[in-house]
Structure formats: structure tokens, C-alpha cells
Amino acid sequence: MILFRNVSKNFGSNVGLANASVHINKGDFVFLVGPSGAGKTTFIRLILKEIDPDKGRITLAGKDITHLSRREIPALRQKIGMVFQDFRLLEKKTVFENVAFAMEIHNAKRRDIKKQVMYVLDLVGIADKKDRYPNELSAGEQQRVGIARAIVNNPRVLICDEPTGNLDPVTAMEIMDLLDKINLRGTTILMVTHAKDIVDKMNKRVVAIENGRIVRDEEGQYGLDTEGDFYDGRDVEVDNYVF
């Protein structure tokens, strides 16, 4: 689903990512960990095409996205759900409107919007609060709205940048259960976190970055084979998804 081959990105003299190769398969749940300044956000920004790599290739759902034109980016982002540490909800919109907004942007039909929004609000367990405003919700509830908005367009990948960073441990675990549930429905999840207890408890694949280098990957033998093709012990999926 997400494939980084020898990707490097420098910001002047700062190293963002250095020759990083990672393969995240369809349906995977992967934690991205590492100290501050390691390159985690850089990794995410490369997937979202906020920045272009200096070297290497990036593939998403079978499509080479190393260099995308500006006009191709919206369609790419529609296929990627983003969940933020600070929720990033619109204060002046209700729960329902916040989630519906993500569909309106892609010109969805009004009827489809209503059905789909109610479906995901139900999925994240917050359908009964659909007419409330964000400031009338607890932090955990706000994050549920954030997740609902991220999955409402049925993205292939869900990227979460410290989604539990602002939550107490109990609420954090509830959110993790929710993400697990979404993962079981087939959505690939990449989650950046500093919370060691969550990583330990969830028992998922962990990719660790330091100074822009991949220093640990639970799946083991990642690297390039003799032909220069990516090899991590599994077949690289053929994913002909077009966007």
C-alpha cells in the first residue's frame, strides 16, 4: 500500500529522511516511532505530497507518487485519511457538518452524504451527539469526530499523527480500540506515537526512525534485493487502484 524505496529528504543541512525504505502492505497496522526530530512528520508529509523527496521513489496503492502535479494531489489526499493530535475540527460546524464537510469537498451528493456520515458517526460511537459543536464535546469525543471525518470518504490509508497525544490513558485506549476496529475493516493504518505503553499493548508492527534512518522494523528483513527491487520477505502487492 505504501512503499518507500531509498527515500531521502534534506531541509538545508537538516536531515529529514535518509535513504529510508519501508513497505507497508494493504491492511497493515504500523506504528512509526522515534525521538523528536527523527523524521516522522517528514515521512507523513512525503506521503501527503506536501513535500517532494530529494531521492528515491514513493508508491501508494500501486501508483508512483514520487512526483505528482499539483492537480493530482487532491485526488491523492481523498484516498488518505488524516487524524491529528489536536483534532482540527471546525468550531462553527456541528459534529455532523464537520464530517459532511469532508464529503462536500469532493462534490458528493447530499443524500449520499447524509447516509455515509450517519454510518461513520455510528461506527465511531458518536451518532447521538451529531448536532453538538466541538466545544460541547470531551477530548475523546472530539477525536472520534476527527476519525469519523478521516474515514468518511473510505480512504485506503489512515494516517494518524499522535492521535492520543492529548488524551488521558483510558480515553487513549478507547481510541486505539476504535482504530483497531477500523483496521479490521481493511483500512491500512500508519500511526505516529510517542506512547510506549500503547505500542506495547497493541502488539503491532513497529517502525523506528532516528536521524532520518529506519533503525528498526519489526517485520525484519526489509531492504533491497540484488535487482534493486524492494524486498521485505513478502510479495509486493500488485495494487491497481487508480486515482
Binding site: R70, P74, R88, L90, I105
Partner: protein, 297 residues
Amino acid sequence: MFSRLGYNIRQAFAQIWRNKAMSFTAVLAITAMMLVLGIFFVAFVNVDLFANVIQQDYNVVEVYLDDSVAEEDLPEVEQALTDIGGVERLEYRSKEDALEIMKNRWGENGYLLDNLETNPLPNSYLVYVTEKSDADRLSVEARDIPGVTDVTYYQDTVDKLSKITHFIQIGSVVVMAFLVIVSVIVVANTIKLTVFNRSKEIGIMKYLGATDWFVRSPFIVEGIIIGALAAGISAGLMYLLYSKLTDVIGPDILRVLSVPVVPVNYMIYNLLIIFMALGVGIGTCGSIVSIRRFLDK
């Protein structure tokens, strides 16, 4: 899409109201710009019309006769004119014919001439010349012929007028370009306030995969509303100004020049179209400029 347009328009009015002071400044600046343009336009159209009307007479020297010149004296005057040389053809125009021609030129204002008690126009000769130099000589020497009161020759006037229209054209293009740029900057700065107010929303939109045009649309609507407001106000003010102008000095100018001025309604209709196009253009450009930085990925 249409529900979104309605939403955008409501949002835009709310934003304009929220940034009253800046929006007002922007509308004012564009209005001032449009008024300057409007005055140039009015001047240009009228001078151009005048030039066109008298252009018809350009190779003609008109020689006016005193009313005391009797019909039997005419051959003598004709001979005197022909003797000057360079005359291709002579055409006698009685004062009655002259009035009729003037009525036609005035078009819908022609009725104003209907109830004149005496015909103020003189009998005249239209002298068609072969060369421009003959016309120059003729217009000087014909004055010495007995019974000739005045000689007019429009070539010089036409030359002068075409210089004036040319000057007005160039002047308005230069002034316009400058004012349009200023207006775009003012609009851009006004809308920048809205952009700041909604920067968080813009960021979220972009993460959710909104296209550039989707992100821009509410700001463009705001810009267009500001431009259209200014256009409406300007057209209104120009209407007042121009109808006053034609009321007060119009008739006198008409009489002196024997040329009609462009009617108010026609003028304002065209100005409104020009102003609207300009306002919408400025609003669109201003808003695109103001949000450009926020759209960089």
C-alpha cells in the same frame, strides 16, 4: 454545487460585514477608480462621436453668406470662389436645407428645432476642393469676397479632435492600468483578513483533498461582491453626473457644435457593463492574489 454557491454568498456577506472598515475602503477605492474611468469614457465617446460627425465634411470648406446677398448675386459669388482655384465642385445650401440637415443630425433631439421663430442659420456654399492646400488657401481668400460672412474648414478641427481622442485613449489606458493595479491590491488586502480568519479551515480543507478552486471559491465570491458593489455605485453616480451634465451644458453645446451628445441611458448602460466586468475582474484577481500564499502545498 448551487447550495454551496448560496452558502458562499452568505458567508461572503458575513465576512464583508465583519470587516466593514476594510470592505468599505475597498469599495471606495474601486468606485473612485471607476469614476475616473467613467469620466474618461464619457469624454472619449462624445469627442469621438463629434469627430465622426464632422469627419463627413472634412474635404469641404463651408462658406457662409450674409442674408443680404440676393439670389441674383449668387453667380457672382460662385465666380469669385472658382477664381481662387482648386475648386472641384460647388454646392449651394439654402438656410432651409441647413436647418433640415441639422435636425437630422440631432436625431431624437431634433424636435428642439421645430419651434424656432426665425431660422438662425445662414445660406452657404459647400466648396469641394481637390487638394488640402487649396482648402487652406481658399478658407483664407474666400473671406475677402463681398457678402461672405464666415468660412469654416473642418480639417484642422478633425485633426485636433483625433489628437484629443487619441490622447484620451492613451491617457485612460495608463490611468486605468495604474488604478486597476491599486484596486487589486486593495481588494487583496481586504480579503487577506478573511483568509486569516479562516486559515485553519483552509488548512483542513487541503488535508481533506480540496482542489485549489474549491478553496478559492468563497474568497472569489467575496471579491466579486466587493467589485460588483463598487460597479453599481459607480454606475449610479455616473448616471447622476452625466444627466446633470447634459441638462446644464448639454443644450448649449448642442447648439454651438450642431452635434448631438450621446444619450444618458445608452451611456450608463455601457458604463454599467464595463464597470461590472471590471469589478468582477478586479475582485477575482484580488482574491486569487490574497490566497495564493495559502495554497502553496
